[in-house]
């Protein structure tokens, strides 16, 4: 029987509690800075590798397939509409509690892109893989240059 099951109450053994306290301060990077500024302006950019004919979204500074640079001339606007590749509905939160109401996440291939973006699906509807969707941005005054400047995706209005 595993040891952990024999210790029914942690207080019965001498135990020390410890936490690992570190904070991360991250940079978005050369491509990331520019990509997030684009979102703030309501635009979704990709970078297209001319050699591999592959368009990355979010935009990258280099092509992982050939390690070629993706400079300014490779930036193209993609979307804002695209196709839902797959979706899931989350009923349990990361801390183990019930997620009420549930959240829905999708993988979206934006028009003009090869790479696939993960983001929220704005709920209250039925989702099916293959359906057409479009990006919904926050109002300009609420944008901060973050992935959350995109509220998510909703079914493309016909």
């Amino acid at each position: 029987m595993p040891l952990i099951e024999r210790i029914q109450h942690l207080d019965e053994v001498r135990a020390w509690r410890g936490t690992i306290q570190l904070e991360g301060v991250y940079t978005a990077g050369v491509a990331g800075e520019r990509w997030l500024r684009g979102l703030q302006e309501g635009k979704i950019y990709g970078t297209r590798c001319p050699r591999c004919r592959y368009t990355y979204v979010p935009a990258r500074r280099f092509c992982e397939r050939c390690l070629g640079p993706l400079g300014k001339d490779t930036w193209i606007e993609v979307g804002p509409s695209g196709t839902l590749v797959s979706w899931t509905r989350l009923h349990v939160a990361p801390d183990g509690t019930r997620q009420v109401p549930p959240r829905t996440l999708g993988l979206i291939r934006l028009d003009g892109a090869d790479a696939v973006l993960v983001h929220e699906l704005i709920d209250g509807q039925e989702w099916t893989s293959g359906m057409r969707v479009e990006a919904v941005f926050r109002p300009p005054a609420e944008r901060s240059g973050s992935i959350r400047d995109l509220l998510g995706f909703r079914p493309l209005s016909p």
């Binding site: 020390w16 410890g18 690992i20 306290q21 570190l22 904070e23 991360g24 301060v25 991250y26 940079t27 978005a28 990077g29 050369v30 491509a31 990331g32 800075e33 990258r60 500074r61 280099f62 992982e64 397939r65 050939c66 390690l67 070629g68 640079p69």
Partner: protein, 388 residues
């Protein structure tokens, strides 16, 4: 020499800086693409990738080598992480060597990256969690404790002064002034500057210590038949060695790095070197602290115990001396993005042996050099010997 012959055929690095705008992926890409460019190879000519990086906590990404992999050209390739803490940079090159020596691969791209500026309040904070959780962490230890206790033990045993040791910091920071990628090169630094710098944990002062840095370095390694096609100046791996001391750091001989001697003896045996002081022409020992360069020179058997400081004092270790030590400027001068710093030392030997080190070039056409790093819980020694 075990296995097939292996050469380094290309190298590239980013600048080492305090805080890079680039993401870790972008740093890795810059180094990897420069290394490939340097030998006019393309990614599709690479069989496998070795990616070295020290604790995940620095970049703040768990499984960070998987995160970094796009920048290192790992897409669709057999890829392995190299990780022995500070010893990683040299160990990653050793892994590249055995990938090829074994016959498994013909070409390997070795990339080492570290982005320490992500870690707050200070990268040292990540090291608070490497100690025994029950017996040491309640005392609030940090790495400086080890270094200060070790430096004091070393000074006491051999009667060395702070001034003897500060000469290393001066030499390396002056050497780094000639390195285009250096963070802390200073052609005018003096011993007094080191001795007057802020005391961190006696006897360790601010300028005895390397900085924290962001940066990446990459090398391209190839089997002999490829290497001879790619370049007319292949730099051969002649020997490698690595060894681990006890995790109970208080039990180590604090005045002598046994783990380095064990690693060095393996590497010398493989390279057929009997008299390292005559047969090694340039050396890049790991120098995160000035006293560690001395410590490591002794562990490498390149100086008698307690006598490495004389090599510095007599100018033998200068770039134009009989045995140049850390001609790059080292971690003290070029900077210390942990894993990348170790691989920078390997790259420096590569450039020096090819006569491509620019203003840093040591005279006399050196034919053999050694790079060494040190890490894990200050207990691993990693050594590589290169020759032309």
């Amino acid at each position: 020499m075990a296995g097939r012959r292996v050469a380094i055929v290309g190298a590239g690095m980013t600048k080492f800086v305090r805080r890079a705008l680039e993401t870790g992926q972008e740093l890795a890409w810059e180094a990897a693409s420069k290394a490939l460019e340097s030998c006019e190879m393309t990614l599709d000519q690479i069989d496998a990738v070795v990616l070295g990086s020290a604790p995940d906590a620095f970049d703040g990404v768990h499984m960070k080598v998987e995160y970094l992999s796009p920048g290192a050209g790992a897409w669709g390739k057999p890829t392995i992480r190299g990780y022995v803490g500070g010893g990683t940079g040299v160990f990653a090159a050793i892994q590249g060597w055995y990938h090829i020596a074994s016959g498994m691969f013909d070409t390997v791209l070795v990339v080492c990256e570290e982005k320490m500026s992500s870690c707050h309040p200070h990268p040292q904070a990540a090291f608070n969690y490497i100690f025994d959780h029950t017996l040491e962490r309640p005392l609030g230890p940090n790495l400086l404790w080890i270094f200060a206790l070790e430096m004091n033990a070393y000074m006491t045993k051999y009667g060395l002064t702070k001034r003897d040791i500060a000469m290393v910091a001066v030499k390396n920071k002056r050497n780094a002034a000639d390195h285009p990628a250096a963070q802390l090169g200073d052609p005018h630094i003096t011993i007094e500057d080191v001795l007057n710098s802020e005391v961190l944990a006696w006897p360790v002062q601010r300028l005895d210590v390397s900085p924290t840095s962001d940066g990446a370095v990459a090398i391209v390694m190839a089997a002999e038949h490829i290497a001879r096609r790619v370049t007319n100046k292949p730099v051969w791996v002649e020997g490698v060695g690595w060894s681990l001391d006890t995790q109970y750091w208080t039990n180590r001989d604090l005045s002598y790095p046994t783990y380095v001697e064990e690693a060095a003896r393996k590497a010398y045996a493989m390279a057929g070197i009997r008299e390292p002081r005559k047969e090694i022409h340039i050396v890049e020992p790991y120098d995160p602290f000035d006293y560690k360069e001395l410590h490591h020179l002794e562990g490498l058997l390149l100086a008698d115990r307690g006598k490495a400081a004389e090599l510095i004092a007599l100018g033998i270790a200068n770039r134009d001396g009989d045995m140049p030590v850390t001609p790059s400027g080292g971690l003290l001068g070029v900077g210390n993005p942990i894993a990348a710093a170790g691989l920078m030392k390997v790259a420096e030997i590569f450039w020096q042996l090819r006569g491509e080190a620019g203003k840093r070039q040591v005279p006399g056409q050196p034919r053999r050099g050694l790079a060494q790093a040190w890490g894990d819980l200050m207990q691993v020694g990693t050594v590589i010997i290169l020759g032309i």
